[in-house]
Symmetry: C2
């Protein structure tokens, strides 16, 4: 507990975009760290919507046990949202509504926990506050299973989804190997990740060498060529007897069309809504090669799988929450606590402050030297990067009923 | 270690049909128990195919550590297969080839680890051995994630898949609840189970009461009526704000057509090949109700998820393996070790011998009093039955790399 004077005003915390297995761990650390400094935390319901509509939850009513339970509860305890504010000119009324909420509740610190869109919003809010001479410190707090944020070495949420992916692919590969003599010969696993192949790449940790599963990975960083893909599948089946493919949801053909064009909608961020790559590829393998195929699309399961969270990821999710509060109290406006890797083995990292300007709207895809020359696998450099991120098992506590004891907060 | 005389001949063990997270645990117990009695175990590669083609692995070469590792390794260590022998008349040559393999290797005990088709095969092999006066004791050993075997209270493999299902649905429901204000309002999870709704029912353990996820479950034991289903989804979204649906792969409409008719193939057992219910339902919800939908199809992930195995299931998988060897040595021909439930709370069970004739080709679907009157959920009776089966976490050991230390046996 700090002996220093109690800070002025309150802290407003909000989550944005797709939730993760550990974003509530970050929230738990934010609340705990703020309490150490005598700072009250308001939590906006449904992300920025709650801040715009003055729908805030006062976390001072949460017990210590509830704050602890937050740390092992997946999802977003008070809701997130997919709403992107536009430029200050276009969305001026909404930005001013935000400032109005801040004034009403004496909010002096704004922590926005999300991806690159959220970093952009936090940056704009800080600019507006300056324009209106309102004393506000804005901090972006990183989160995304896609691992596509710039500057930070990795993103809280990714390590756990990566662990889920690698473990699931190793497990289902053992299943396929057992069945291949008379049944399924090709298995296709669809990974999230949007324009970045990080989650698909994590599946590569499940095996080593060209004959271990996954034998083929399809990255959005490489053009999808159906002929080349099917030839590879056929070659693997001939050599190994079966083949596990991991396909990133965001792969595109030479014309730039998403292979998962089945859905075709767009979300509130203006991104094409993805999904359906695995079923498409499975159909083609069956039609063209004639192999029996199974496929899996874990969808939200992969980003909410707190039961198989990575210990590294969990610790980093807590660390960015704590540091965000510390940066806020030091007045490090328009920054984000990012993870800086010091060494691969032993794995060492620390949290540093980075300017939101360097992160807002940028997107970090897989570097070339992480993708195998033939385009269908990961390199040793990728392994060195990915491996520490899935290390350790941060199991949630379980009840007598055999289910994790996840907290309930929404009704509070 | 038994002080008794070493039994005559050897034991042949084979796995059949879809593998599970704990079928190798049963194999591990078979080998360990046989060793206690000085009995050598041969393991047929790729199930009955290995027995037919004289492709047997001699398990005496497995170290104690390898036998222990089997117990926490999912899949089928030496392969399974989907080959169903027909009647003795139709498939006589193959049955005789089996007997020939038994003679060649002095096999006096045959343990066939599978579902109801395998119980039928084991029964027929026992009949043929009697006809040829060959001294053989045949034991069926239960296994199936579908939980559809007759006589036994539950099936090894089911409890772990059930735990995976309940945990995954609870987790993704927290995700959907967080996103529903601006994004996904309906989430559809597709469960395995063929003609039986047991795995879909297990998802019901994730919540209680009509407002907790999964709010709707679609069972193959009830006719799928699109109008009624969509009305229920709409009502739940209006009342709760979002809706999680769990759909069994085997649901059929009033004309008896599988909703998942997209695939439409048949496997070697003559069963229609299923898959694709969730994507179909998702499309209808989006088209008719206009809600944003996400869906998941975990497919093999649900039956190979050793990382979230149920302790109850694991213990039962070991127990049926041990008892199968004991029954074999006692000459309890044409039987299966089945699980008899003594009480729900505290949960008590024991292994008994049941005649294969009562199990062969029978199929146990969900009893009427396990399905809620409206057809879209489970009753308290179902909860009392299901709950003990997912209790306890039988975690596998993990390596420094953050992945489970699953054994490798295929190359041995």
């Amino acid at each position: 507990m700090s002996k220093k004077a109690r800070p002025q005003g309150r802290l407003l915390y909000a989550q944005s975009g797709g939730v993760t297995a550990v974003i509530n761990a970050t929230a738990s650390a934010v609340i705990d760290e703020a309490r150490r400094h005598g700072l009250e935390v308001l939590w906006a319901r449904n992300g920025i919507l709650g801040a715009l509509g003055d729908d805030l939850f006062d976390t001072t009513s949460l017990s210590k046990a509830q704050v602890r339970a937050l740390a092992h509860t997946p999802g977003g305890a008070f809701g997130s949202c997919r709403v992107k504010l536009k430029s200050l000119e276009e969305d001026r009324a909404r930005y001013e509504a935000l400032l109005e909420t801040f004034r009403r509740h004496d909010v002096r610190y704004f922590l926005y926990n999300g991806g690159n869109d959220s970093a952009d919003t936090a940056l704009k809010v800080s600019q507006l506050a300056k324009e209106f001479d309102y004393p506000l410190t804005c901090i972006g707090v990183p989160k995304t299973v896609d691992n596509d944020l710039a500057v930070t070495d990795c993103c809280p949420g990714f390590g756990s989804a990566a662990k889920y992916t690698a473990v699931s692919v190793r497990e289902c590969a053992l299943d396929v190997a057992a069945m291949a003599s008379t049944s399924t010969k090709v298995f296709i696993y669809e990974a999230m990740g949007r324009h970045a192949g990080w989650l698909a790449a994590a599946a590569g940790l499940a095996g080593k060498g060209p004959d271990e599963a996954p034998q083929l990975i399809l990255f959005p960083e490489r053009t999808y060529d159906e002929g080349a893909f099917l030839a590879q599948v056929d070659a693997v089946v001939k050599r190994v007897g079966w083949c596990v493919v991991v396909a990133s949801e965001g792969i595109r053909d030479a014309e730039g069309r998403f292979v998962a064009d089945a859905g075709g909608g767009t979300d509130a961020f203006g991104h094409t809504q993805l999904g359906g790559v695995a079923s498409h590829l499975a159909g083609r393998v069956q039609q063209v090669l004639g192999h029996k195929v199974h496929w899996a699309m874990p969808d939200y399961l992969q980003r909410s799988a707190r039961h198989i969270a990575s210990e590294t990821d969990y610790r980093q999710a807590l660390a960015v929450g704590r540091k965000a509060v510390q940066f806020a109290l030091k007045g490090q406006n328009a920054t984000m606590p990012v993870i800086r890797r010091i060494s691969d083995a032993p794995y060492r990292w620390r949290i540093e402050a980075a300017s939101l300007e360097r992160i807002a709207n940028a997107e970090k895809t897989m570097p070339d030297d992480f993708i195998r020359e033939d385009g269908f696998g990961i390199t040793d450099a990728a392994r060195r990067y990915l491996q520490p991120l899935i290390r350790g098992e941060a199991y949630p506590p379980y009840g007598r009923g055999g289910l994790p004891k996840y907290g309930r907060f929404g009704e509070s």
